[in-house]
């Protein structure tokens, strides 16, 4: 097990080291004393496992490819922003914009996810054990967001083709986001996502939300939504 202690090493040192990895040889890394630092383990592109022991600041695991990153603490804004592939797991809570504009991979948040979770998502899968804040899945284009707790105001505002599954209460739905029926296929998909995230929950307790597709073309009757 390799280890980098941020009490003595810098963020630059950490990222340089992690960028050198190719997945052969040293596959497991621990990062100590993150103390809320920003941009930790960003831009990784190798099938390695990185465990960060503590709380992280903004943009942890930003633009991740292939790597499996675990934060044993909570995370600041922009966790795993623009993730391409791989997995990122936060055992605590995250701040806003979790998985913003993510293209692929899986982001799991055991606790709560705050506002704008999954904003602009483009294919990432996000599973939240707790609740998400307002404007979550704003302009969500593709991918799946699973929320075991509640969702705040304006869920899925201006949503495109992303699919949302929520178990708890939805405070309100955003423009063009509507509830949709759960089919067996959806139950199976949701079950698989929960299993992948290692979160125990019954898919039948969830409801599905998605785009009404009324905003796909500019027309006068949608004026309120602009």
């Amino acid at each position: 097990m390799n280890q980098i202690d941020l009490a003595t090493a810098s963020t630059r040192d950490l990222n340089i080291r992690l960028h050198q990895l190719d997945g052969n040889g040293d596959r497991h890394w621990r990062v100590l004393h993150p103390n809320g630092k920003h941009a930790l383990a960003v831009g990784l592109d190798a099938p390695v496992e990185v465990t960060i022991e503590g709380h992280v600041g903004y943009y942890c695991a930003g633009m991740n490819k292939q790597a499996h990153i675990t934060v044993r603490g909570s995370a600041g804004p922009g966790l795993a922003e623009n993730i391409m592939s791989g997995t990122v797991r936060v055992m605590g809570n995250t701040s806003q914009y979790a998985a913003a504009s993510g293209h692929g991979g899986l982001v799991v948040i055991d606790g709560d996810a705050s506002a704008r979770c999954g904003i602009s998502m483009k294919g990432v899968d996000i599973v939240v054990g707790g609740s998400v804040g307002h404007m979550s899945a704003f302009m969500a284009q593709a991918g799946r967001l699973v929320v075991c707790g509640d969702a705040g105001q304006h869920l899925g505002d201006s949503i495109y083709e992303a699919i949302l599954y929520v178990r708890g209460c939805v405070a309100s739905l955003g423009s063009d986001c509507v509830e949709k029926p759960m089919t067996d296929e959806h139950l199976a998909t949701l079950g698989a996502l929960l299993a992948q995230a290692n979160i125990a929950a019954d898919p039948r307790a969830f409801r599905r939300y998605g785009s009404a597709r009324q905003l796909y073309h500019y027309k006068i009757d949608n004026a309120d939504a602009y």
């Binding site: 963020t11 630059r12 990222n15 340089i16 960028h19 920003h38 941009a39 960003v42 831009g43 592109d45 600041g57 903004y58 943009y59 930003g62 633009m63 490819k65 804004p77 922009g78 922003e81 623009n82 391409m84 806003q96 914009y97 913003a100 504009s101 293209h103 704008r116 904003i119 602009s120 483009k122 294919g123 704003f138 302009m139 284009q141 593709a142 201006s158 495109y160 083709e161 905003l215 796909y216 073309h217 500019y218 027309k219 006068i220 004026a223």
Partner: protein
């Protein structure tokens, strides 16, 4: 407007309800949706045309053309980056998306930039292989939409440009109408084919210069601090904005004035939001000077740059380089009197066309239709662009030599005077024949 009725008496038009205004109201009443169009601000604005140069005479001496060199090279982004951008000429090509433009236009821009020793910039759809292969030095935009953004393209770019806004629509986001969202464009942007693309106007994961600072650090960490990071702003509260770009850690600032073009946005945005390039440049340079960052954080100016004279004026006011958008497309044939029937079918005519948003560009530039695109041959387009910018640079050098400069960046505000009071106030140079700079001195 005036005319004669049957009695030969003059008809009186209204300056408030002009024909254009009447049309716009009828249009709004008919369709119930705002007018969306391409191109930049069309109305008369104070501009570089209102400034002139004081060439050499008895008190100043000119340089000989051709024999005495007038250098044009500029370095962008040495503040933090390991590999700054070296421009052979202080003229670059502005960010324009694949999606707004077709592939032929992007290829032409790329080949021309390579031949000229300058850069092109990606736009709101992401990076295409064609552009990366055609353009030797490529600037990669990070926009609020984040369409197609990925770390591989970030790393194969030569510089990164974080877009906060553009001159045509400061405070607004990108727009592309359904007719231009083809399969390829849709795939790059992760959108359903044929829909009207809605835009985000704020970045999804940061708000404010204090958070932008952290975002810039993240992008540097991902790219191992190699590449310069530009921040692009539309001209509004320019003095504050430039100071904040510097404080957020930008290596260079791209400032786009009101005349800046777009392939599609609301007409009211284009004509009524943002300040002209002329006052914006002065505000930006003063903000940089106040922070002792002039020439340390470079300023690239765009928005209605058309000739070597415009370039010279922008540099004289303190810019390090300029960027061409609309003018580059004109060099590629925009508004040329060819395929005139097609202009008519769009309801316009050569010289008046701003119909980029329709995707039916008669000259094959702002279209995804392969039949129309075929009208623009990339090699021919590249040759046109290369010729045009070469002429621009020669014009710039001609003016610079006449003012006694051996490097174009040595042009100064004191080399110019203004022809109008507005231009004098906006540019901070005296009204010709006087010492008067309104609001400052010599009254």
């Amino acid at each position: 407007m005036s005319g004669n009725d049957q009695l030969g008496q003059t008809l009186r038009g209204s300056a408030t309800f002009t024909p254009a205004v009447l049309d716009a109201i009828y249009r709004a009443a008919d369709t119930g949706i705002y007018e969306i169009r391409g191109f930049g601000a069309k109305r008369q604005l104070p501009s570089f045309d209102d400034l002139i140069f004081l060439g050499a005479s008895m008190s100043r001496y000119p340089l000989e053309g051709y024999r005495e060199t007038c250098e044009t090279g500029v370095t962008i982004g040495a503040r933090f980056a390991k590999t700054p951008i070296e421009l052979k000429v202080p003229v670059t090509f502005a960010g324009m998306s694949f999606g707004a433009l077709g592939t032929h236009a992007k290829e032409a821009l790329g080949h021309a930039a390579t031949a000229l020793g300058t850069t092109t910039t990606t736009g709101d759809g992401g990076m295409t292989d064609e552009e990366r292969n055609a353009s030797k030095t490529l600037v990669y935009q990070v926009l609020p939409s984040r369409y197609g953004l990925n770390p591989d393209d970030l790393r194969r770019a030569d510089a990164i440009e974080i877009v906060v806004g553009q001159g045509a629509k400061p405070g607004g986001g990108g727009m592309l109408l359904g007719q231009k969202i083809t399969a390829r464009v849709a795939e790059m942007r992760t959108l359903p084919e044929g829909i009207d693309q809605r835009s985000a106007c704020r970045h999804p994961d940061w708000t404010g210069p204090d958070d932008l600072e952290i975002k810039i650090q993240e992008l540097r960490e991902i790219t191992d601090w190699e590449k310069p990071i530009y921040v692009k702003i539309g001209a509004t509260r320019t003095a504050y904005d430039v100071a904040l770009c510097v404080k957020s850690g930008a290596d260079a600032i791209v400032l786009d004035g009101m005349q800046g073009g777009t392939a599609a946005t609301q007409e009211v945005f284009i004509e009524h939001v943002g300040i002209p390039t002329l006052p914006a440049v002065r505000l930006a340079v003063e903000a940089l000077q106040e922070l002792d960052m002039h020439r340390k954080v470079q300023l690239i100016v765009s928005g209605g740059i058309r000739s070597g004279a415009d370039v010279a004026k922008a540099l004289a006011l303190g810019a390090d380089a300029v960027s061409l958008g609309s003018a580059a497309l004109v060099a590629l044939g925009c508004n040329k009197p060819v395929f005139v029937d097609d202009y008519e079918q769009l309801g316009t005519a050569p010289g008046y066309c701003h119909h980029c948003h329709t995707g039916r560009c008669p000259v094959g530039i702002t279209t995804q239709d392969p039949v129309l695109e075929a009208r623009l041959h990339p090699e021919q387009g590249a040759r046109w662009l290369q010729n045009y910018v070469t002429v621009m640079v020669m014009e710039l050098q001609t003016i610079a030599r006449a003012c006694g400069k051996s490097h174009v960046l040595n042009l100064e505000p004191e080399d110019m005077v203004a022809l109008t009071i507005e231009a004098a106030a906006m540019a901070g140079v005296p009204l010709a024949g006087t010492n008067w700079i309104p609001g400052r001195s010599g009254a």
